[in-house]
Each structure stands twice: as structure tokens, then as C-alpha cells.
Amino acid sequence: MSTPPTRPSGSPDPSDPLSGFNPLEPPPGLDPTPSAAVAPPVDPRLLVRQEGLRGYVDEFKRKVRGGELGSLPVVIGLIIIWLIFSLQNSQYFSAANAEFIVYYMVGLGMLATGLVFVLLLGEIDLSVGSVSGLAAAIYAVLSVEHHWNAWLAVIVTLLAGMAIGGAQGWIFAKIGVPAFVVTLAGFLAWQGVMLWLLGSTGTINLEPKALNALFSGNSYFLGGDVAGAYILAGIAVVGFGASGFLEQRRRRTAGVPARPTGELVARTVVLAIGAFLVAWILNRASGVPNNAVIFLALLVICDFVLRRTTYGRKVFAVGGNIEASRRAGISVPMVRISVYAISGTFAALGGLAIAATTNAAGQAGADPNNLMMAIAAAVIGGTSLFGGRGRVWSALLGILVIESINAGLFMLGLTLDIQYMITGGVLLAAVVVDSLSRRTQKSSGRA
């Protein structure tokens, strides 16, 4: 078949090699399809959202019924938790307690943020608790015992966390050992390294320097000035509103569907009420702790990376379908290694934050409870254990739940046994909600 056969009669002019090629015109003889002439009709089965508030409420109801619960269960849970503890102890609903919750949530929140990346791949990192303890020990040994510059020690510590995470990711991605086993080994081994570094004393007291000073309990944004909290709230609201309206304008110019203005205004107003309320409450105590400012800034950056960059798209793709990612030219091992490196870095950062709350790096730094709390926070916040679904904000929501419970139990003077039972119950409830909503999503064709 090296030469074309004789041409059947009735063919187009052979001198024109492009005969039959015109994208706007069907080739000769082909049934002319109405592709360009008629706009494709909207699928009649598709439920189209109406404009305005009514449509928004309808769509919200439909999403909830379809199992797309989003942040709803955790927000309801949070309100119930606050109500219960406020009824038990009038001191619970106070500015001082809010400040306490916000300050103590940061360390575990950072572990949970790193875990969100790992959970998005559908994997798990059991080593974050041990890595966080080890990071605090590394920092303490370098800055206190070896008198390194504090910032240099911070950088080396974070790099160590990144290297540890990357190494675990490499063993998982390149050698093919299940991540669960690799990080379980890390869970034990890094705790051992931490104990070895801390030596016989078991505890090294830290000096309030560098990042440690920012993470410490008496460091507030703008020195705790009343304006500080409102400035932060203002930045958040203006940034959120502006990005929403810019996006809407770009979409309208390009002629693709955009969010209606009413919805954007409603979302911005809700955020404004929440942000300024929190700012007002924290101002009635001492202001916004600097560690919370750093935590929120990191969440904004991570959210941007995950939703707006090709890297984030790769993470979601690998979490959704490994084979599809591979065929799309995504290097699955590189995504896995980098995600574990991110998890390790956040674990190290969280370790520094946790150490700063007690101003010491001690053997309790690698408390296995920290690991469980961080995983629980990510899952409670709405990041699926099954991969491919979640947001970094779930780390914030989840850790708020965990710390609200911890603060309440602490205030009621409940013993450790009760605390463990309640936290375990909350974690189980979160996973059950995750599994149930996934099942509902499947049956309504959304998963």
C-alpha cells in the first residue's frame, strides 16, 4: 500500500492538496453538522442555578443532599462544641480563652497543613510528630549548645525537616515501599534520633531568639496594638473581595460564566463579619499572636500554590488518578517526593512552634498524641483520606475544633483518659462523615 490506489470517480480536484480542509466548512460529502452555526443547546438534564440569592440557597441545598458537605459539618460541630463547654463553664466563652485557643493551635496546625498535602495524594505521613520533636531538638542543640546564630539554626532545622520528608518520599516513590510503612519506621527512628540528640538531660531550654521569639507566648502582632488585629482583618477582607471581583471581571470579559455580584458581596460580607469579630475578641485579650499571623500567612500561600499553580494541579491529579497523571506527562515520583518534603518542612516548623510554647525542647516534643491530633485536624477539617479532595483551610478549621475541645477539657479539669476518649470519638466521627459523604457523592455522581 505504498502508492495510493486509483481515485474513485467524483472526487475533488486533485491539484488542490487542501481540498476538503476548511475547519469552518464540512468536508465535501460529509453530512454538514450544525457545529459552528448553532450554539450547542444546554443539556436539559442539567440543573442550572438561578441568579440571585434564591439560586444560591437552592444550589447549597442540592450540594448538601448530594454529599458535597464542604465545611458545613465542621462549622456546625464547632458551634456545638462551643455551646456545650460554655454551658459547663462560663469562663469558656471569654476573650482570654479565645486567645489561648488561637495561640496553642498553631504548632499542631502546621503539622496538619503539611499533612493536607500528603492526604491530597491519598497517602499518610505518620512521622510528622517525631519529625517535629526532632526539629525542636536540632534547633536547641545548634542554637543553645553550639551557640549558632539563631536564624541560621532555624534554616538548618527547616532544611533538615525537608530532607527527612524528602528521603521518606524518595523511599516511597522510587523504591515502592508503602508510605504507611516508611513513615511508621520514621515515626520510631526520628524519635530515637531526638532522644539521642537531647542526651542525658532530656530537656534543653530555649532562648527567645529569632523564630522562637516570634512563636513565643508574649509576641503579638504590632506589639498587641488594637489597630494590629483590625489591620489584619482589613487585609483579609480587601484581599478576598478584590480577588473575587477581579476574577469576575476577567471572566465576564472572556465571556465565561462568572459568579454573580450578589454572591460575591455576600461572601465578602460574611468574611468581614467573621474577621472583624475575631479581631475584636482577640483585642479584648492581648491582640493577635504572631505565631497565628505566620500560620495564616502560610495557609494563604499554600492555598495559592494548591489552587493556582501547575504544581498544585499536579498534586490533585496524582491524588485523583495516578495513571492519568503519568500519561499526562506528570512525574509522579517527583510530586510524591516533593509533597513529603513539604510535609517534613511543616513538621519541623510545627516542632519549633510547639517548642516555643514551653520555651524548651524536651522529650515530650515527639508526643505521639501530636501526630494523632494533626491527622485528626486535617480530616475533621474536611480533607478526604481517600485523596484528591481537600483544602489547606481544613487544617485551620480542624485544629480549631481540636484545640476548642482541648481547651474545654482543660478548663473543666478532666483527666487525660477522658480527653483521649473524647478526641478519639471526634476523629472517628470526622472519618465517618468523610466516608458517608463520599458514598453519597458516588450515588449522586459526584465522586
Binding site: 500500500m1 490506489p5 480542509f21 465565561v256 490533585f316 497523571s325 506528570i330
Partner: protein
């Protein structure tokens, strides 16, 4: 065979040189000779159906073109010059897009994200969602693909819709040849018709299409040329116009080696290679 197909078959061949040609391609797996001296040609604006029984070597041939396997012998000629394809990326860079049977779409991502996966449009290092959504909508419109919205997760699409999304995805890189592996295998009547419409539209856009199918009705409906593989060898190449399904089935099953079918093949297609 209806006139339209014969007409476009001719128009495809007006441009004499094939966009993709395989010359004497062989592939061994250990002791198994999967392909022996296989020849195949695809012209722009031509739909070549690649048919054959299970184990005939269709998948191996397609994977060799797609870069999943490397050929042991023979030549792959792209637009008149010999090329070597060692990796899937080589094939993609030439302009060959492959849609595999398992569609490999990420269920959790929406249609736009799936269409552009691995080839995202960016501005200032960030995803340009607006441009991607616009281009996705335009692409789906020109192909007359009807899906409820480009912003719903692929998980909520039907089988037929997923298939057309997978095919549309292969067109994002502006390929010249599209390979479809069993595109209608799991589809219902209506969805099959949609996919076949889409194949015709690809031909209308002057793409070369290699269609692997077991379904003779589909093959008869859209193919210009039928290439039959049997036990890793060419067992005839027929123009769809004027060839009966019986002839093709005979070539597939190997019952071609009798006087009647040889005669029939000679009568319609002088260059039939049934005696290979």
C-alpha cells in the same frame, strides 16, 4: 457504502504522501514475535480502522506508535522522514495523540482541568483558568460535544461523555494523527453514535485517525481504509468503499486463504496483501 465516505476518502488521498507510515515494523517480546514486517499508512483526513482478532498485535502496534514500546525492526516514517520513537513524549512531540481504552481521566478534577492536564495554560506562573475554560468551551463547541458544564468533575459524566472528553483532551496539543483504542467498546447506541460523529469531525479537521475496533458496524460507518492484522502480520488493507464486511471478516479470521475470497479481494482492491 455511502457516497460521502467515498468522497472524503478520495479527498484524503489527494494529498499523496502519508502523514504517518510504518515500514516493515517488527517487535519481539522474548520468544514471542508480536509483529512481523507490518506496514501501515495514515493520510491526513483519513480514518484507518485497525482490525484483527485478540492477540493479532493491534495493541502492540499502537503502543509502538505511541512510544510505549520501541520497535525492534523496520521504520516509522513521519511526514516523509524516518523518526525514532522511544518514549511517549517523542510520539506526542511529533503530533501523535493516543486515547487509550481505559480513559485515564482524573475523576476529582473538572473537565477543564482534565483537558489541560500536563499542558496547563499559565500567566505569570499561575494557572490561567479563564483562558483554559474559554479554550475548552470553544474546543467542545467546534466538536459539537454536549456536556452539562466544563466546570463539573469528570466523575459526574456518563461513559459516552467521558469518552468524548478523553478524545477532546487528545486534541489540545493540536496533533496530526489521533489513535483511538476501542473508543466505543463500553458505550450504548446513542453514545456510540456521538463518538462516531466525533471521529468524522476529526477527519473533517484533516486529522489522520487510527481507529481500533472489534465492531464491524462502527468500522463500516466511519473508516475510509481497513487494515487487517492477523497473528502479527498484515492480512490485507481494504478501502471501505466497495469492500464487503464478509471480506474483512474473512481476513481477520484467516479464512482468506481460499480461492473465493482471494478472487473477491482482487476484484475490489488490486493491491490487497492477503497473501502476505
Amino acid at each position: 457504502m455511502t457516497d460521502p465516505v467515498a468522497g472524503s476518502y478520495a479527498s484524503a488521498l489527494a494529498d499523496g504522501e502519508p502523514v504517518l507510515a510504518l515500514r516493515g515494523v517488527s517487535k519481539r517480546f522474548g520468544a514471542v514475535q508480536a509483529l512481523t514486517d507490518v506496514e501501515l499508512e495514515v493520510h491526513a483526513g483519513e480514518v484507518v480502522a485497525l482490525v484483527g482478532d485478540n492477540g493479532a498485535g493491534k495493541s502492540t502496534l499502537v503502543k509502538s506508535i505511541a512510544g510505549v514500546h520501541t520497535i525492534d525492526d523496520g521504520q516509522i516514517v513521519w511526514e516523509g522522514r524516518p523518526v525514532s520513537i522511544h518514549r511517549p513524549q517523542d510520539s506526542q512531540h511529533l503530533g501523535i495523540a493516543t486515547v487509550y481504552q481505559d480513559l485515564a481521566l482524573a475523576d476529582n478534577l473538572d473537565v477543564v482541568a482534565n483537558l489541560f492536564l500536563g499542558r496547563e495554560l499559565t500567566t505569570h506562573g499561575t494557572l490561567d483558568e479563564v483562558a483554559m475554560e474559554k479554550r475548552a468551551q470553544e474546543l467542545l463547541d467546534t466538536l459539537s460535544i454536549r456536556i452539562p458544564s466544563v466546570r463539573i468533575p469528570v466523575a459526574s459524566l456518563s461513559g459516552g461523555q467521558r469518552q468524548v472528553v478523553a478524545i477532546a483532551r487528545s486534541l489540545i496539543g493540536d496533533p496530526k494523527v489521533v489513535i483511538l483504542d476501542e473508543p466505543t467498546a463500553a458505550l450504548g447506541v446513542e453514545q456510540t453514535a456521538q463518538v462516531l460523529d466525533l471521529v468524522e469531525r476529526l477527519r473533517g479537521r484533516d486529522l489522520g485517525v487510527i481507529l481500533i475496533s472489534h465492531n464491524m458496524v462502527d468500522v463500516a460507518a466511519v473508516a475510509d481504509t481497513v487494515a487487517v492484522l492477523r497473528l502479527g502480520r498484515n492480512n490485507g488493507t481494504f478501502p471501505m468503499a466497495g469492500t464487503t464486511q464478509e471480506t474483512i471478516i474473512a481476513a481477520i479470521t484467516g479464512a482468506t486463504d481460499n480461492a473465493v475470497t482471494r478472487r473477491a479481494a482482487r476484484a475490489t482492491w488490486p493491491r490487497a496483501e492477503g497473501e502476505a
